[in-house]
């Protein structure tokens, strides 16, 4: 399914970034970083009033030759970015949506941990397992 999942802080530094293989890791980092421009663009395109009640899921940010990049922004401006293989046509938009929601829930669990300092990198086994399961679901 997903080949790379990233959680980006409000200030646009990575809180968590995990990709399926290590060999393309750098490429994914670049892809995720560049996609933040599109996220910014999409958010700023919306009016101020709309921002509060907007849909958190931003949809497809942009397609590259090999991958599709999807985005999701929480109300606290934490961004979730998911890179999926573009050859995987079975992946529907609403599936991506639900994956993001699962990710969001898992992220909330991390935030609820009293030992977690908001803004720190995420080191959570539960979150790791969640992300891994999303990347493992091979179609």
């Amino acid at each position: 399914m997903a080949v790379c999942i990233a959680v980006i802080a409000k200030e646009n530094y990575p809180l968590y970034i995990q990709s399926i293989t290590t060999e393309n890791e750098l490429k994914f980092h670049y892809t995720v970083h560049t996609s933040l421009d599109v996220v910014d663009e999409k958010i700023s395109a919306m009016g101020k009033a709309l921002v509060d009640q907007r849909e958190l899921y931003l949809g497809l940010l942009y397609p590259t030759e090999d991958y599709k990049v999807y985005g999701y922004v929480t109300n606290s401006k934490v961004k979730f970015v998911m890179v999926a293989d573009s050859s995987n046509t079975a992946l529907r938009d609403n599936e991506i949506h639900s994956m993001f929601q699962k990710l969001h829930n898992s992220y909330i669990d991390v935030m609820c941990n009293p030992f977690y300092n908001p803004g720190d990198c995420i080191h959570s086994r539960a979150f790791d397992n969640m992300v891994t399961s999303m990347m493992m679901q091979v179609c």
């Binding site: 646009n12 750098l26 980092h29 970083h33 421009d37």
Partner: protein, 998 residues
């Protein structure tokens, strides 16, 4: 100071001015309209007699070069269009070229473009814009002159194609000298020659606009050498023969070549000619490593005189296109030498000499005016009437063909709307790119007319012609032609005064797609992209421009891809809400392509600019990658300091790289470092970034290692480096010591008393200089930590110190000895090998043996840093340098360097001032004072009980040993519970050892 202060505001003003007029970065200095106009100008061929060429050569110039600076008209021109409407032409430029009968070769063009780009580097004081976007402040070069010169050269070097006529010759100048025996005969010869070139099947190149090319007869007269009367009479004869409008007498060389060197005359040629005489060069920085390839610096891309292919005494070299690579191989044989700009063998000199060999040495300012006048006269009386006439003829043809006497617009439309499928014979010419028309096919007439209108800036007419032509070509499925018409229709729509219609970007998109995918012609596609991107940028459609630029990047040309990606990056940063990250990403892609294209400096610049975005934002993997690349590029460019600091960065940051990657980083770092140190072997030892040293964990121990307990003998001390610091017990000992000192001094503790501290650490009081005794070792324990996932090997590890010998009895000033040199005063222990495994923290104990009294300062550690796995060679960097002198440890390489030990003292918190500010006290644990010999007592317990019953009495032995040569007297024993002990003395065998039981 005054001069500097004076210059500053000027620089800022310049920056503001640039900012005000350009507004955006990476934009051309000229406007878009000017840029497009100058990209398509009427082409005029020049055919010179040998004698005429010789006259111009006196000025170090060919004929076409001579007139080049004067090819832009300063005044407006009027002409009438086919509907007899007056049309104003402003700022017209023409191009005069020598006839070259070979089409430019792709290899030559590639090389030329590569050279153009590599020569154009940002200068030190290049104006940079500061872009603030979100929390990013980026310094970006305000202009990209390398791209502009690339674009100019690219457009000029485009080979003429059959599907368009814009770069076909409209007219031909025939140039003859007045000094020739038979000038009129020579004109006839030249005229025949031109006819032969145009009409015989021998030459497919150059291309001519229409069959009857305008011939313009120019009589060149050398004022200083020729007879004026004769020139005038020849000119009269010419006027008879060719009409006053068809010929011209141009007088030049008013100044003898040998005099008037003192007179300064502006050289308008230098800016034009530099581009033609670009050398093949990899311009490295002027460093000791500079590699100069003399082989390539020797030749000059200018029209060489190849004697074997001279035709009919004409000096024009028809065979050699300036872009041809051929004369690389045979420069030595064909170089005529005397008249040509000589390049010196030195690369650096040749850069300067391009301005050093003056052009136009025989020309006065009057001559300049004469040439200007000549070009103006030629354009007004010769070229434009010819074009006007041709447009009329073409228009009449188009109308007559349909037998209608209406205006062109409706007529052409009707004619073309009813056009049939072309004949079978034409169909046979079909190839992958669709239909091909023969050169004089009726279908092409309208395109010719459109091109002529375009060249004389009649954009309305041009647009409607292109538009009609486009439909016609599309009907015929002549895709190449259709793409050409689409391209120019879009451009002329944009250039129409008053912009009656919006710029049809989709025309361009279709044209680009057709050129690229159907015709497989990347050069034409690239021209489209360059034009369209510039137009879109001028309309602030930056994201469209960027998409266009990115779409044309492909595998076939790294240089083009690099330049286009860089421009795309600039588009992203210019958008209303700047896309900083996209900018950075595309800069990295551009840098990658530059480096593949061999443009190392440009690559480095791109990466450095991208670095600004990634730096310190937590994207460590990307940051490491950029730093690594910057390091490598800097290294190949011999900017070793940059390379070292970039590599250092990768290793200092908490790296999240996998172990293999870290290993590579480390090896490359060591390799580069090795080169730096070889460069300056006498310089100070470099500071190494690895391993980390936990400065505050440094412990210092004074005295000998305690003798280990043997059997029942037990050292009666808890102080050693193996022992953890225990706050409570050390406090107890301190109290006891104070008590005994008070007893000895009759109840008063002396003010200068300090409790004995054998082992100093971060908990002990380090505010005073500790005392060490001569001939007793000082042990320093340094806490190393290896942050990497690969092991580090330190070899020849020892302490670095400074010693000031001082005899505390007889005062004399000893000189300061730096570093480990005075072994007679201080002996230093060296650890031969010290391996720190991955991510391990390990202590190293290093000893110094002071042999003299004085002040010792322990500064740091010195060692060779190396790896233990190092079988792989560095790719990309020539390994031979490392091999010849490298010292390999376990197949890895190592460099010698140092790290300083700097311990911050405790935060001061006593006075109010100290409380309100942040101040740290000194930490002197590494600055012991070496005092004279003192007695040194060692105490051992023998059979010391570990547990006792209440009221039980046991006998135990205590052994006192004075290890020093100094006698020890007045030994006191102090205890918190003196009532528990009873002493009974027994002298032992040796005179220094006493034992006592209690």
């Amino acid at each position: 100071g005054g001069g500097c202060g004076g210059r500053r505001p000027g620089g800022r003003a310049a920056a503001e001015r640039r900012g005000a007029c350009g507004g955006e970065m990476a934009q051309c200095v000229q406007s878009v309209q000017e840029f497009i106009q100058d990209s398509f100008v009427p082409l005029v061929a020049a055919l010179c007699s040998e004698e005429a060429e010789r006259l111009t050569r006196k000025n170090n110039l060919g004929f076409s070069e001579l007139v080049k600076p004067f090819c832009r008209l300063t005044s407006e021109v009027h002409m009438r269009d086919p509907n007899n409407q007056l049309h104003v032409i402003k700022n017209l430029k023409i191009a005069v070229n020598n006839i070259i009968t070979h089409s430019p070769q792709p290899g030559g063009i590639r090389k030329l473009l590569n050279d153009v780009v590599s020569v154009s580097q940002p200068t030190e004081g290049l104006v940079t814009n500061v872009i603030t976007a979100g929390d990013y402040d980026l310094n970006i070069s305000a202009t990209t002159p390398w791209f502009e010169s690339y674009r100019e050269s690219f457009l000029q070097s485009m080979p003429a194609s059959d599907h368009e006529f814009l770069n076909h010759y409209v007219a031909c100048m025939l140039v003859v000298s007045s000094g020739e025996p038979e000038p009129v005969e020579q004109f006839l010869k030249l005229s025949q020659e031109q006819h032969r070139i145009q009409h015989s099947s021998e030459y497919a190149y150059p291309k001519w606009f229409i069959p009857n090319t305008l011939k313009y007869y120019v009589l060149l007269h050398d004022v200083s050498a020729g007879e004026e009367q004769r020139a005038d009479s020849v000119y009269e004869e010419m006027k008879q023969r060719y009409g006053t409008q068809g010929c011209y007498l141009l007088k030049i060389n008013s100044r003898g070549s040998n005099r008037g060197a003192d007179e300064q005359i502006p050289d308008p040629w230098s800016q034009y000619l530099q581009k033609n005489s670009i050398q093949t060069q990899e311009s490295y920085d002027d460093g000791p490593y500079t590699v100069i390839s003399n082989k390539n610096a020797d030749h000059l891309i200018s029209d060489d005189l190849d004697n074997d292919i001279q035709v009919d005494g004409l000096s024009n070299n028809f065979k050699a296109h300036p872009l041809q690579l051929d004369h690389l191989s045979d420069t030595s044989s064909s170089f005529d030498g005397t008249d040509y700009i000589k390049t010196t063998s030195s690369l650096h000199e040749s850069k300067k000499t391009s301005s050093g060999t003056p052009h136009g040495a025989c020309l006065t300012l009057t001559d300049h005016d004469r040439i200007r006048q000549f070009i103006q006269e030629f354009t007004f009386r010769g070229l434009l009437p010819h074009i006007e006439k041709t447009i009329r003829q073409l228009n009449d043809q188009l109308i007559s063909r349909k037998g209608l006497s209406r205006s062109l617009f409706s007529a052409t439309k009707k004619w073309f709307s009813g056009s049939k499928v072309p004949e079978k014979s034409i169909n046979e010419l079909k190839n992958t790119s669709g239909l091909l028309y023969p050169p004089e096919a009726p279908e092409l007439q309208i395109r010719k007319m459109a091109d002529l209108c375009f060249l004389v800036q009649h954009y309305e007419l041009a647009y409607s012609c292109y538009h009609t032509a486009k439909k016609d070509f599309l009907n015929d499925q002549a895709m190449l032609y259709a793409a050409g018409a689409l391209e120019m229709a879009a451009v002329s729509a944009f250039l129409q005064p008053g912009a009656p219609r919006p710029y049809p970007a989709h025309y361009m998109d279709t044209a680009i797609q057709t050129y690229r995918d159907i015709c497989k012609n990347m050069v034409l596609a690239e021209r489209c992209v360059l034009l369209s991107a510039e137009i879109l940028k001028s309309q602030s459609k930056y994201s469209d421009a960027a998409a266009l630029l990115i779409r044309l990047t492909s595998e076939d040309s790294d240089l083009r891809s690099a330049l286009l990606l860089e421009q795309a990056a600039h588009c992203f940063i210019n958008m209303k809400s700047p896309m900083v990250r996209k900018f950075a990403f595309h800069m990295i892609l551009a840098g990658h392509r530059y480096s593949k294209a061999g443009q190392k400096k440009h690559a480095l610049r791109c990466y450095s600019q991208a670095m600004q975005v990634y730096k310190g934002k937590g994207w460590s993997l990307a940051e490491d990658h950029i730093n690594f690349t910057i390091g490598r590029q800097s290294f190949t460019l011999r900017q070793l300091d940059n390379a070292v600091s970039a590599f250092r960065h990768i290793l200092i940051n908490d790296s999240k790289q996998p172990a293999a990657q870290q290993g590579t980083f480390l090896r490359e770092y060591l390799y580069v470092y090795k080169n730096v140190t070889q460069l300056s072997p006498d310089g100070p030892l470099p500071q190494l970034p690895l391993p980390y040293i936990n400065n505050s964990a440094t412990r210092v121990f004074f005295g000998h290692d305690r003798r280990p307990s043997e059997g029942e003998k037990q050292a009666a001390t808890h102080i050693s480096l193996d022992q953890e610091y225990d706050c409570e017990s050390s406090h107890q000992w301190k109290e006891l010591e104070e008590q005994v000192v008070a007893v000895v001094n009759k109840g008063i503790i002396p003010s200068n008393f300090q409790p004995t501290q054998y082992c100093l650490n971060s908990y002990s009081d380090n505010s005073k200089f500790p005392l060490a005794v001569v001939e007793e070792p000082v042990t320093v324990e340094v806490a190393f930590r290896n942050p990497l996932k690969v092991p580090l090997l330190l070899t020849d590890l020892s302490l670095l110190w400074k010693f000031q010998p001082k005899d505390f009895n007889a005062k004399h000033n000893g000189e300061t000895k730096e570093l480990a040199c005075g072994n007679d005063m201080i002996g230093a222990e060296v650890i031969a090998e010290f391996l720190i495994n991955s991510e391990e923290t390990k202590m190293a104990r290093l000893k110094l043996f002071p042999h003299q009294t004085g002040e010792l300062h322990i500064l740091g550690v010195v060692y060779n840093l190396g790896t233990i796995q190092g079988t792989m060679m560095l790719d990309g960097i020539d390994p031979s340098i490392g091999l010849q002198a490298g010292k390999f440890v376990y197949n890895g390489m190592s460099v010698r360097g140092r790290q300083e030990l700097e311990i911050q003292g405790p935060r001061l918190n006593n006075t109010k001032e100290e409380k309100t500010s942040i101040k740290y006290g000194p930490d002197r644990r590494l600055d012991p004072i070496i005092t004279e010999e003192m007695p040194l007592l060692e105490v051992f317990f023998i059979n010391f009980p570990t547990g006792l019953l209440c009221g039980e009495i046991r006998k135990a032995y205590v052994e006192f040993v004075n290890v020093s040569k100094c006698p020890l007297t007045a030994l006191k024993v102090v205890s918190k519970h003196p009532e528990f002990f009873y002493f009974w003395w027994k002298y032992c065998c040796s005179n220094t050892t006493e034992s006592l039981s209690f």
